[in-house]
Amino acid sequence: MKQNALRRVAQGVAAGCILQLALPALAIEPQQIAQLEPRPLARAVERKLNSVAASPTASFAQGEAATTSTDSRSFFKSPKGVAALVLMAVGAGYVVYTATSQRLDNPVR
């Protein structure tokens, strides 16, 4: 463990040196090395949580929320499921009719 820690510190220092050489204008924080170790976060937790708006996304947005699993067979036996199936069948049937009977045909192809 100690060797690993030393190696990590050495890697961090090496990375820091490379960056210091390559990007002198962008100073490397001392935390760079520390971040490779388990870091205390309690203060950061507090700060972050304070900065987060406790706001739902637009409730009318089109995106779907994560949902729990439902049995699709029982769903299609429910009134909602039957309605959805009927709408789907009628809608898809009309689209199939459109694609087959209302299609334009180039006479030379």
Binding site: P38, A42, K48, T57, A58, M88, T98, N106, V108
Partner: protein
Amino acid sequence: MQKLRLVAAAFLAVLLSASSGSAQSLLGTISGVVVDQQGGALPGATLTLAGKTGAKSAVTDASGAFRFVAVEPGTYTVTAELASFSPRKQENVVVTIGKTVTVDFSLRVGGLTDTAEVVAEAPLVDTSTTATDNSLSQDLLFNLPLNRFVASLLDYTPGVNAGSAFGGGADVSNGLYFDGVDTRDPSAGTAWVFVNFNIVEEVQVQGLGANAEYGSFTGAVVNTITRSGGNSTSGLFDVQYTKGSFASDNTTGELLEQNPDLGLSAKTSKYLDFTAQLSGPIIKDKLFYFFSAQRLEDKSNPSGPVELYSELSPRFNGKITWLPSSNDKIDLQMQYDQFNVKGRDGWSGTITKDVVVEEEAPELVWNAQWRHLFGSNTFVEARFAGYSGYFDLFPTAETLGKSTHYDVTTNVQSEAAGYRSLYDRKRNQLNAAVTHYADRWGKHELKFGLEIERSSAHNRNTYEGGIYYYDSTEYYPVGQYYGFDSSYDFKTDVARESFFAQDSWKPNSRLTINAGVRLDQGRGYDGGAQDIGKVYEFTGFAPRIGFALDLTGDQKTVLKAHYGEFVDSLSGTYFRRAVPGLGPYLGYFFNADGTGEFVGPKGNTFDVVNRVDYPLYNVDPDLKHPRVQQYTATIERALTADTRIAVTGTYRKWKNFVDTVLPDARWIPFETEDRLHEQPITVYELEDQAATENFLIRNVDGTQYFDPEGNLLGTARAKRDYKSLMVVLNKRFTNRWQAQVSYVYSKTEGTVNNDGNGTRTSDFISPNRSLINFEGPLTYDRPHELKILGTFVIPKIEVSISPYWKSVSGYAYQIQQTVSRSATNLPFALVSSTARSIRLEPRGSRRTDMQHRLDIRAEKIFKVNQGNERLAVYADVFNVFNANYNTDVFNNVSDSTFLAPFSITTPRQITLGVRWSF
């Protein structure tokens, strides 16, 4: 008190912090750390990510860190568990394309599950990508009154207008990605695959600061991600409708006096678009389906003599998602659609109502994707996508076999469209990439990939009756005609291989460096019967480098800078004239004795008086493909918890424009009358038409033009520069409203226009175009652009109002004059009349009026039962103020309607919609 502190600490346990991977891929990432209440890392904690297709787990490493990679856009729940600690659950973790959401946990000892319900989403200010993120949020996008054409979604983005993105060519310079693969027409570079807007899960616009995995464009990229099935059965049934009486008239007597051909106001007489959509599980957690059927009917009365344009498009989408293991995901999807049109204008300009064609355009689109995760640090993706289809334009039953007639004297096209065109398209593309996260010398997100494209375009055209009539009573006795025939049949094939490597490197918590390189190799072939093989070839090397620096260390202020090069796509238009299949041109004159060698319609006979065999163009073997160099610098600042401002400066410089030149030509200067200023102007006559036996496709910057003695007349410059300052203010949805306000000041100037020809210009054949008044603002130079988009939910009645306001400068133009064919000695059949047109004042000297437009959507959503079942009714009002701005003007002094409006904006129209979703 101690207990209260503990509770408070527990409540604060979920940390939502901000970090992000590079804005790449079609996936997102969730990462974080798990610590105890003292901040000590907790290795071995189990994290469970639950989404609509099931759950997957990860274990924290020695530093308490975890990461879920390759996460589909959507909403998730993350739970952290460790023996002896009370589990913590974070709900509403919103993942969007290319973003990393950081969810950190602080666990307390013992007790029940703690649940945090605040929303965890990508950070307001993204401190760890160099890409300038000025695209619209999904919340905004899906609430706006949209025209539902996915390629048009670009226009809602700051800096993009009428398909021209950041100075790029309108429409043709943008990448149009459908689930990660470009689906543009391989011939013209324009949109080919039309997507049902209701199957779109997410749309993202990329352009400024895009990583190396994005290529083959010099404008912007629209990424469209489609929906998939999950463990829950979902449905969507949507109907949108409008009719002629829902539209207003925005023509005026004054406008019609200037241009009577504007006719009636262009109204939509019927628009009926419905979608029926279902998705859900076939085998729980393993196999899912998605199916959508759409029927779109659009009938409109365009301004002008055509009475009715009618489109009927059935469209089916199906997708199967298979999770054979927790590390594999396979998507197989197909789209079949038709585009059936009646009443399409057969020719541009002044036409009678008979001059229309019908259009048949079916296509099959496929997209197969496989993704495999190697642990939590590496995954590979492979996509194979493409389409096969055609669009045919052919005469109506009433005009079958009839030739078209064009009267040079009155400038009217009549009797029939008189042609049939067949356009076949095939495109196949394979994309494969490996992404690896490494924690060495900081944090890296490495990605390597390749793209292989094979596509072809077959274009055929013939004239009905074998002749196109010129009915010029000015030149010929009544009943006598000049006519011509010029059919074509050619096929262009495109092969492209692209490779990229990129890294998003975070050496510390405040700095991110994005570096990458892209290599494109493209070849254009003759795919026709003669098969002369490869005619066009290029290699494009496109480096990208940038950094993002968190200036204040609190992830509220970031400075970004990026340099990148973007190589244009290879479409058939670059080398079409270098493959055989065009012509010959046959000019006919009426034979009154009936003894002519060509027998036309009605038994009339004609003599061939002019035959031109089109020469094959040569391609410079050292040609370099067009590209744009792009510099951006952005500073972003979070003003409040939900409001952000971003100021971006952009400079773009195009290089390597390609055009056709006549290298052997010599030009004789002569004076003609400038009819605008009524003074002499020097123009150029081709000395010898023999020079037109050698057309050369090459990079045209630096083209020199000589007189017959070999003296240099001038050197053409091919250039385009775009500079802009962009200010964007975003407010996320809180307190019942959200908004994005943007203002862009820009200049797009140069000598190569940014119209639909993109980087392919046609100004350099003749010095009349490339040496006279050649430089200035380009057509799509729109110096001032203000866009305001937002949503406000009215209390109590819970109706949302979403306005879209746009004010944008008009189009730039200049007055032109056409010099006669005999004066310029440019052969009619070989050189378009454009080459004989001269600008009488500097390019872009004038501008159409500044345009202001307001569209509004009002929507009421009724929540039905429990869960996410909703019934929504909405109304869209387009062009609320019924404005009638010129979108184009007649700018040739020879036009009888000189300076009159050629076309105007569409009038106010109201559209109604109902949507049931669950």
